[in-house]
Symmetry: D2
Subunit: 503 residues, 4 copies
Amino acid sequence: MLKQPSSQYRGFRTPGIRLSEEMLPQLTKLSTGRTRPMLHVLHAFDKAHAVMLVEEGLLARDAGIAILQALRQMEKDGVEEVRTRTGGGLHSGEQYLIRALGEEVGGRLHVARSSGDLSSVGINVLQREHLLAVLQAVNRLRRVLLDLGRGHTDTIMPGYSFAQHAQPMTFAHLLLSWATTLARDFDRLHGAFRRVNQSAAGAAIMVGSDFPVNRARTAELLGFDGVHENAADAILELTADDSLDVSAVLAVLYHSMAKWADDLILFSTSEFHFFDIPDRFCNTSSIMMQKKNVIGPAEVKGAAAEALGCVVTSYHALKGPTGLPITERYYALEMMWRVAQNCVRDLGWFCELLPALQVRREHMREAAWRHWATATDLAGALVRERDLPWRTAHQIVGILVRLCEERGLGPADVTPALLDEAAGAYHGRPAGLDAAAIRQALDPARFIAARTLHGGPAPAESLRQADLFARGLADDERTVAAIEARLAEAARKLEAAIDSLIG
Amino acid sequence: MLKQPSSQYRGFRTPGIRLSEEMLPQLTKLSTGRTRPMLHVLHAFDKAHAVMLVEEGLLARDAGIAILQALRQMEKDGVEEVRTRTGGGLHSGEQYLIRALGEEVGGRLHVARSSGDLSSVGINVLQREHLLAVLQAVNRLRRVLLDLGRGHTDTIMPGYSFAQHAQPMTFAHLLLSWATTLARDFDRLHGAFRRVNQSAAGAAIMVGSDFPVNRARTAELLGFDGVHENAADAILELTADDSLDVSAVLAVLYHSMAKWADDLILFSTSEFHFFDIPDRFCNTSSIMMQKKNVIGPAEVKGAAAEALGCVVTSYHALKGPTGLPITERYYALEMMWRVAQNCVRDLGWFCELLPALQVRREHMREAAWRHWATATDLAGALVRERDLPWRTAHQIVGILVRLCEERGLGPADVTPALLDEAAGAYHGRPAGLDAAAIRQALDPARFIAARTLHGGPAPAESLRQADLFARGLADDERTVAAIEARLAEAARKLEAAIDSLIG
Amino acid sequence: MLKQPSSQYRGFRTPGIRLSEEMLPQLTKLSTGRTRPMLHVLHAFDKAHAVMLVEEGLLARDAGIAILQALRQMEKDGVEEVRTRTGGGLHSGEQYLIRALGEEVGGRLHVARSSGDLSSVGINVLQREHLLAVLQAVNRLRRVLLDLGRGHTDTIMPGYSFAQHAQPMTFAHLLLSWATTLARDFDRLHGAFRRVNQSAAGAAIMVGSDFPVNRARTAELLGFDGVHENAADAILELTADDSLDVSAVLAVLYHSMAKWADDLILFSTSEFHFFDIPDRFCNTSSIMMQKKNVIGPAEVKGAAAEALGCVVTSYHALKGPTGLPITERYYALEMMWRVAQNCVRDLGWFCELLPALQVRREHMREAAWRHWATATDLAGALVRERDLPWRTAHQIVGILVRLCEERGLGPADVTPALLDEAAGAYHGRPAGLDAAAIRQALDPARFIAARTLHGGPAPAESLRQADLFARGLADDERTVAAIEARLAEAARKLEAAIDSLIG
Amino acid sequence: MLKQPSSQYRGFRTPGIRLSEEMLPQLTKLSTGRTRPMLHVLHAFDKAHAVMLVEEGLLARDAGIAILQALRQMEKDGVEEVRTRTGGGLHSGEQYLIRALGEEVGGRLHVARSSGDLSSVGINVLQREHLLAVLQAVNRLRRVLLDLGRGHTDTIMPGYSFAQHAQPMTFAHLLLSWATTLARDFDRLHGAFRRVNQSAAGAAIMVGSDFPVNRARTAELLGFDGVHENAADAILELTADDSLDVSAVLAVLYHSMAKWADDLILFSTSEFHFFDIPDRFCNTSSIMMQKKNVIGPAEVKGAAAEALGCVVTSYHALKGPTGLPITERYYALEMMWRVAQNCVRDLGWFCELLPALQVRREHMREAAWRHWATATDLAGALVRERDLPWRTAHQIVGILVRLCEERGLGPADVTPALLDEAAGAYHGRPAGLDAAAIRQALDPARFIAARTLHGGPAPAESLRQADLFARGLADDERTVAAIEARLAEAARKLEAAIDSLIG
């Protein structure tokens, strides 16, 4: 007889049944290793499936109770440990039950499902867990940014474009722009969450089974928002868009984080020196003891590169006809779990680092006009006070800047005569601004104060934005709280259903 | 005097003003070439900006009228042609106006904006236009899939996993799974559309200007859904997530399309031969005249590779501190315009190709059980009729398949005796199913008919799904129609505002 | 006093020296974790550096002997274990020595080098080790392919293009084409090996030190082929091309392997069924017991996706100004070590799998003409025997194939009358080939036998190729053997130098 | 009769022959568009093939002469124009000849080859041409770097690591490191050139033909270095490694160029300000007239992103079983042609820009010690003069730097007392260096002068490196010259062979 003694049951692929050789140990090891992160999900699925089978009369009540009691027992000994010890993998539950209860009982768990829905449920719940953790961390950082921004509405600094001094802005303005980016990230991540949190349970390998399962019930017990309406669509082996989706939204988020990390590194160089980074984020050198290597933000940038690598790996691994790339998928997923964990880590570092930055306000403000960043408003003054066309005023100030550079002069050295010289060179007429008007036009504080337009960096407008963004954040925090509540409720329902069965 | 004669005005970067050398011609050419696809958007922005300036008293009414009349005149001569002739680029409007009206009037257009919001408006409107075209094309294909699916609920075919015959499904079931994927694509694309269709106008380079512009008005006239609330966030040079977002959702859509193209190619090989592809999608060889090379789907697959390349190029080009990568962005955008256009093209090909497929129903149905795809339900029969545990039944049928393969037998050759032999080998007891039960269990038509579960391929359930998905599609079609109406209304408002000014 | 008691020395970054805070434990953990794979290399470098310092008079002989004896002692206790216990990281050697010998002696090791050359030596030796293992594995597979090919010169099979039956080839012809690809891979990998196996030792952080070190000596003791001639170029933090190079050549190799894996999977489907894959490379399903999922080749394809992801991660992580991305590099390297290990694994699987394939010769040969793959030579016969222009002959046979398809006929059904009908339809004249000529033209064995041209699949020509490629392989095997000998000799020299010092 | 009148011949795929429908015009257009860049190559192949056929007796002398004369005539009218007008594509030669000479003669050209070798020859010659142009441009830049480097051996500047001031180096040292990187790029590019410059001519679609062609002769006339020894390997549709290889080596080169572009941008910011970039490489802003946007290097960075995108597109497009992805390949190739052209463009810009940089020597030299970059050598002085262990000296100077930072002091403010204080804090003993020793230790000129080690930045050592690298460059220039000569000789041979035939 080919039947294995239940107490030593090693799974359904033993040689002599369908296949005649043992699988190469290295291949077995690879495949069980991959399901390790989802063992707790498989456990919950085993429980929910057993409950549903009993409720629908597809599993005798006695057998169902024995199975559920055994699974409860497994929890006492540690789900991960017991399942790993029992061979690991998608079918570690069945394997444990057959060993514990015999094939006659334990062999009844797997009716009406397949490795297809097992792995889809496992992957989707893991994606859901990771996305939820990222959503929480994104919201935490948004709150940090808004709080910090409110305190920096008068921290004037240069804004750059093409790495050139462009115009003054405030640190608040920059932080608020980061907060709006994160609001879009929340939108993207939550969109992915909604699309991912659908139940494949009961879809088996792509067409379900001919047993009358209750897919809605299993979905409810596992905390899914709904049931995939088409069983082929439910099986991730067939439709690959979910994983691409998740890896893409993580990568987009990481791209912004890496950009901010680049800003922090650049702004903390000796040359820019807007910030000092707290020493706990820094390392030094084994020979250049003067160095303060900024490490934390560099980790963010490295992890962002892996996030892009994950998108490419996912896209490439999943290429091929429907249902062909399956094993390949795990090369992408293992990278994705890492990326998602790093993402929570790195969002956390921003939360810790940003409020701890030592901001060198005086230096930043001085930098905000030292390299002509306020020159635009000198042209603006010519438009307003002398009714020059914008382009005329712009060209005159352009000549002024060139003349000053040639003569080694800076913005503080601009006189009415110099400006007249530039205007004269342009169109043969003087500019006609007095010294006070020039000084005022070039003053960065006035520059900021005058930017009261919708979206501008004037302090009151920044506070308006902060309030608006805080309301959006509060909405998103409620969204996250509702998800958390829904998942907790599902977990409670599952245990209650088991309790009511096993008495 | 450095001022250029207005009639020969060549732009504000002429040597002698701010800079002392002419820019290298090759660099100039690169930069003007890039704005070519957005000249019509810049034109609309020029008009809307002029209207708003006049309405807000920032531009004298007379000058405003002259400017708007000149822009209307340009339309008669062809916006693209005139702007390209006038030097092209972001400032082709100003350049044209200065030449036509003199710097005294034409030089007043550019007040209170910058290249920053010009290019952000240009890029976002182009992204909006491309996304809208893709949304429309996605919906067209969804409708084709649902219509086609309704006619194929009894076209039975093998479903594959690991490239192995897994279980029977129907062509309708497959087409419906594609339709659900496209519904998710619609969700993703529309999310990106919402995030992208925000107005940067008035945000200038990152902090706006000190002129009291009315950003909401310009946004309304340009068909935007809203105004970026933070001016730094408005400028795409600073926040790169938009472009990554758009290229990512296009790539995810393309991945699925490529997978379906792979299916069509595989299923039309001599070996599978489920479909014949119409000759208009095929080429032949200069020496192997028997060949019918399937070209259309191969184009989809090639374009999908470029879509992934576009994600990587975008992500990489935009890496760097805030405001540093700007020129780099265009290398990604030019690829993105191509990808989006190909995407509409390829969605269109599916719309044409799928209904024209010659579906070889008899062959497909025969294939659906010839390689044991219905074996699962023989185990199911043992469970139901002999109360065997699933695992026991599964192993017995596993042995049966192996025995048949060793003896050169197929599913049609299975007898009660053979099944009993397998059961005996497993656990020393016969299986006890009669010939009729075996034949019925292995029949693919019965297999499909029994899959009435939620999400299954039974014909009635497929029709339920088709109806459900059609309702979702109708919603999404209304969403698209509303966008189209909003954009048309904005265009009307803009022209009406100009009419009321120029009388 | 800030000096730590030597016995508890925890490294040079302790708070109170240069920096005032302890580094975040998570950051410390990340950085030490990364150097784990290179601890044995750092150990060798510590020894070689100490030897060189003593030889050059830069380290007192007594101190040198104490250091070298302590390092020898460490080997007894296990280099990896002791270094990990001592804090891990680049400076685990120094840390161990200071604890063991006091700062007065142990603190003298690090003179004239830096973390820069430590990590460059570590990385380059690891790249060298991985590349060497891949070179060895590539050669093993080449030998397998040549041996196998020699036995399959008369295993006729269809060749495909566009997934269509193109022309007959032989399995030998296919295997030999794989062998030539691998010869190019060897060339690429060896090129990378040569470029990588250069010594950074003594280059410190980019300019070396002002101590008169002997870089050539250290390089010799560490088995390098030479010394980086420019110290900035030596430090991988500055010049990133090496890692890109290595990841790219691995990815190119993996691309071909994935293609072959795709072939194996396709050719083992029920539809193609040219091969049976041994069961030890296969899995089955928990519900579809008939399935024989081919797992091994799928692993190759997944790993290939990661290899591409590694290229992208490397390229992206290393972007930025000279000397800026450093930490980021490790995200790429950790992926690269994995890719290289998988590469050796997967080359090994091909070596095991290919000779074990059950090749279905009869079926393959039948397939080689059943779908008109020999039709080209019917046109050839018309050219040769009837002096038709190629194009005329090609079009006539094209018509013939279409007529046959329309009438449900295959190649075996072609008669002189049918061919005449096609020729008549084309140009109003009969073709004039008799039945024997037609039969012969369409025979796949004759088809192959006639391909005696340079590069063709005729058996004798295949054997010529196999011999030629075997000579190339023998050369490359000698190259690998020479590398192995050189590295062994360097290791011997290092130990001899230590022996001669410590007596 | 289906035969087209020769004068209106439109190719072999006309409906009614093999296929019954016209191909969709959009598909036709796509496919002919792709061969446009290779029309001149196809022309040369047509000529060489005709010569070889006549020489081998496979084409009657009269017909051969007529064909060659017609092809010569085409050259008078413009190969590109005539071929494009005649339908374009791989078979534009045959099409032209049939129209010009009738099918009876023109229809004889295509014997013994196929679209497979046509496209492989076309692609490989294009890859060869692009690689050659890049090799030439790489060498030009190497020469510029060496010449420029020789003049900057005493231009001292800070070297950075982690964006921190690490140690002084010289501009020469940096330029020489770039030159060595380019030498490796030459090696990689030349390796790819060698692997690519092999002839597929005669390999037809994968097995050649049964006509006794002389492949060596065609290869010789087309300037190939050899003949692919295996006909399947010759056809790029089957073996994809070539294109991956070429795109990878281009991307690796681009990565370095982008890094240098980043350096130039960073070093020309107001904050670093080591260089002024000539105005012809710069743009300014439409509102921020002070800005000098550095454009040229930004183009390099954008093109580098596309180079990475090309690697990914290539890798992804070519994934799939042997002979399946063919059309897909062109999506990768069109990107590759663009990348290669940009590469030559951007190498050229470096050649123009680098010698034109305005180098601010005084400022750079001052920066080279202002932020403690020479501190390492103060520790070195303690080692040498006070026999302190390196680690002890390092920690003492670490304390010194911290004390100075806390007290607002810089390197110029270090006194013996301060150093003693630091030493005392560390181990309770004074340091004992006098003021002169300290001053000297911290002097950047002395720092550089002392780096005479192999690979160091001391001026004489830099000159030694420059000489060494110049010798390597001269070798590589000879390699390029030899390639150019070989190709010119092949072109001469081809024309001579034609001349001797047509008399």
